[in-house]
Amino acid sequence: MERARQAGEILNARDLGVVACTRCAQVWPIGTRACNRCGHRVYHRDVKSLQRVWALWLVGLMCYIPANLYPMLRTRTLLTVQESTIVGGAIELIEYGSVGVALIILIASVAIPLAKFMAIAFLAISVTRPSTVSKNQRQLLYEVVEYIGRWSMIDIFVVAILSSLVQLNVLVAISPGPASLFFALSVIFTMLSAQAFDSRMIWDAQRWRKGKKDHE
């Protein structure tokens, strides 16, 4: 645990004139183009990464809107065809009394995606201007976003299981609605957006501001 300690202040790799491969963590002198160990491109800081973050973020957000407007599930029984959206389905569940499952669905498909959009936007903004939130907290936020992002796919899997399982001839059949595609795209693009964010920039921000002098 105490093995990697260095006396005094912790230095950034860039202060030592080295750069680490983001894929395999091999350390190279600054100016190295490609990692000789794994072949990945080595870059000091990816200046374009914020643009990529925002572009993917926007696509994710645009997919999230139809995901909530179109039906997620289409339930056909003998007499009726019923379509339900994400929120509509959860409300139905509450009416049937399964509050727990409804909560899981609301958290996984509404609260987490919205929180994720806000968190990524906040992180991307916070590295370009002074932030009151400490670096450690922002790093933690980033890790939470990265970890939790995948779990939003749960709703897609539920739809997949339900619509393959509940195919009982004339009695009842469940099929996926168009919202499932948009929702999956939204999850995938927000995951890509979070991956595009170079978390090392959180730790650069201080220096960046000092270097910028009295601009404001």
């Binding site: 645990m1 093995r3 990697a4 300690r5 260095q6 912790i10 230095l11 950034n12 790799a13 860039r14 202060d15 080295v18 750069v19 680490a20 983001t22 894929r23 395999c24 963590a25 091999q26 350390v27 002198p29 000789n36 160990r37 794994c38 990945h40 499952v101 899981i104 450690n136 790093q139 992002g149 995948r150 779990w151 796919m153 749960i154 897609i156 899997f157 539920v158 997949a160 299981i161 339900l162 619509s163 393959s164 399982l165 509940v166 195919q167 009982l168 001839n169 009842v172 099929s175 996926p176 168009p178 499932s180 595609l181 999956a184 995938i188 978390s199 090392r200 959180i202 730790w203 650069d204």
Partner: protein, 211 residues
């Protein structure tokens, strides 16, 4: 290529998350090196980890194949009955443009976990046997690591639980053998991921081939 001007700095280790640089001191097996700034685990060597991971990988390989093929869940209402496999569930989105979603789902829950296991076997077996790394082993391991967030077997398992609760009052649900295989699979995938010390693997891959 190997004769290029830049030599790697073997004496340093840099935290991939926050860019903090430390003088490299290898922890003893069982110990861990942790970034002091953001608490990312940098090195966690374990004795015999390689052999254990290979054993786990073979188990996962068998389980994935079996879980994908055998009946997974069955449902019955009155006289009507339906049994599905994991593949059937993945391919449920067969309606027009939703076919894309079918392929994605199948990839996320079966083919990406499968690919990762095969890649890690390819990379780890020569290392454990003390042989020179396999051809393109570094690229293979890089791909395995890049695929890590997209391997979603454990999320699918929780999805099953939610789906079962959703239809439990609508119909009678039965578990097939694949359901239990899949449950075991999820545990193994998580254990395998946490066993692997990525730094040690990269370190072994960076060594020039022995004669």
């Amino acid at each position: 290529m190997s004769a290029s001007a830049a030599n790697p700095r073997e004496d340093l280790i840099v935290c991939p998350k926050c860019d903090a640089a430390y003088a490299l001191v290898r922890p003893a097996p069982g110990e861990r090196a942790v970034c002091h700034r953001c608490h990312t685990v940098l090195i966690t060597p374990r004795r015999k980890a390689g052999v254990q991971i290979i054993a786990l990988s073979f188990a996962i390989l068998v389980l994935i194949t079996a879980a994908a093929i055998f009946p997974f869940l069955s449902v019955s209402v009155g006289g009507a009955r339906n049994t599905v496999s994991v593949l059937d569930a993945a391919l449920a989105f067969s309606d027009g443009p939703l076919i894309v979603l079918s392929l994605t789902t199948a990839a996320l829950i079966i083919f990406i976990p499968l690919t990762r296991v095969l890649l890690s076997l390819y990379v780890l077996i020569p290392i454990v046997l003390d042989k020179p790394p396999a051809r393109h082993a570094a690229q293979a391991f890089r791909l395995a690591e890049a695929l890590r967030p997209w391997s979603m077997a454990e999320i699918f398992a929780i999805g099953c639980a939610v789906a079962l609760v959703k239809i439990s009052d609508l119909a009678e649900v039965g578990f097939g053998p694949a359901f239990w295989l899949f449950a075991g699979l999820v545990v193994l995938v998580v254990v395998q991921d946490n066993f692997l010390c990525r730094w040690s693997v990269w370190n072994a891959l960076g060594k020039p081939a022995k004669s």
